[in-house]
């Protein structure tokens, strides 16, 4: 209003525009969406593992992708291959055995995919590869049941029994905390808190190898 106020107001404006230009987009996750919360926490843990120098082993994920692509290719072949197009009136089903073979192959491949997910991966969110002379191979598993509030993180040596199943309690490094400890009120992830906890567990797991 008075001319003496003009200067501070102008400064306020400058600071305001400056704040708007700097800083990346902040992610806010809905605190009721447990699946997104788990995904954000898992991503932070994997980031912490990479920061600590572990290499992520993608073999099982790649195996699932290859099996899936193969199964879809077989399905497309069965559907679109010219000799197999069952056009009316060729009702006597040419190449019945080829179609039957495709169906059987598809069933086998998709069951294999499920087997990999159920038997080998279980709760694991990441597996690391062993570096000779460096950190051993680890299995990082986590669990956050739907609509529950406690996040369980377990890091064990990869060849330990039941390493990929949370709650095995085989002396593996594990911790359970409420998700409230990792997220701000507005849904922002407190990345440094979860990364700190993950780094602690990683060091614990690596140290247990030498014991």
């Amino acid at each position: 209003m008075a001319p003496s106020r003009k200067k501070p107001r102008k400064e306020e404006l400058d600071v305001f525009t400056e704040e708007q230009e700097t800083g990346p987009k902040i992610e806010r996750i809905d605190l009721g969406d447990t699946a997104s919360l788990k995904r954000a926490l898992d991503d932070a843990v994997i980031q912490a593992a990479c920061d600590a120098g572990h290499t992520i082993d993608n073999t099982y994920t790649d195996a699932k992708i290859v099996l899936g692509l193969l199964a879809c290719a077989i399905a497309c072949f069965a559907q679109f291959y010219p000799k197999l197009l069952l056009h009316f009136p060729k009702l006597h089903l040419n190449n019945t055995w080829l179609v039957a073979g495709c169906v059987v192959a598809y069933a086998i491949l998709s069951s294999l995919m499920t087997v990999v997910a159920m038997l080998f991966e279980k709760d694991a969110i990441a597996l690391t590869r062993a570096v000779p002379g460096g950190p051993p191979a680890l299995a990082i598993a986590s669990r956050l049941p739907r609509f529950a509030e406690n996040y369980t993180l377990q890091i064990a040596l990869r060849d330990a029994p039941e390493a990929t199943k949370c709650g095995s309690g085989s002396g593996a490094a594990a911790l359970t905390k409420s998700v409230g400890a990792y997220f701000h009120e507005d849904g922002q992830l407190a990345a440094d808190v979860i990364k700190q906890d993950a780094a602690k567990l990683l060091a614990q797991a690596v140290a247990s190898k030498s014991q």
Binding site: K64, C72, Q79, F88, L91, V103, Y106
Partner: protein, 177 residues
């Protein structure tokens, strides 16, 4: 929409796996259909009744299950047939069967809808008076009432079909199970 933000947060491998999830659902439906074709021997094992020509037995919107029987057609069978040049097959009853002497699988068939005034000769291509077994897609062995109305609605209003597919696709792509 938040699902775009969800997809943006995933890395390449996770995106690929989600896409594969969707593809696996579609392809497993396709493979189930193919195995039904193999099991029943019929080209289209499940059909929807589109007209009221078989009332009061079948109404528009009923689903029919078909089979290719080993024995030749007999009068009284309800068959689904398609003549040359027709897009949509017809579900009607066999009312006359003429059999050639000495060859029981070479037969002439005449059909009629239960609710129709005359026989199907007006539906056959010009000059054709009889059907033969190669025209038959299957014999009706079971039915489910009313459920086919969804298919009829989706046929009459294709936008509904595309919208449904789009919504289902979004659900699968963003599901985390």
């Amino acid at each position: 929409m938040e699902f775009l933000a969800e997809l943006g947060r995933m890395n390449k491998r996770q995106l690929l796996l989600q896409g594969l999830n969707l593809a696996m659902i579609v392809t497993s439906a396709l493979m189930i259909w193919k195995s039904m074709i193999l099991a029943t021997g019929s080209e289209s094992p499940v059909v929807v009744v589109l007209s009221g020509s078989m009332e009061p037995g079948f109404y528009r919107g009923d689903i029919l299950f078909l089979n290719q029987p080993k024995r030749p057609s007999q009068t009284g069978d309800i068959i689904v047939f398609n003549t040359d040049g027709r897009e949509i097959p017809i579900v009607h009853r066999v009312i006359k069967v003429h059999q050639r002497a000495g060859n029981s699988s070479d037969i002439d068939i005449l059909t009629k809808g239960d609710n129709n005034w005359g026989d199907d000769r007006s539906l056959y291509p010009r000059g054709q008076l009889w059907l033969n077994p190669s025209h038959i897609m299957g014999v009706v062995v079971g039915y489910l009432p009313y459920i086919g109305q969804v298919t009829i609605v989706m046929n009459d209003y294709p936008m509904f079909k595309y919208a449904l597919i789009a919504v289902l696709g979004v659900f699968v792509l963003t599901s985390k199970e």
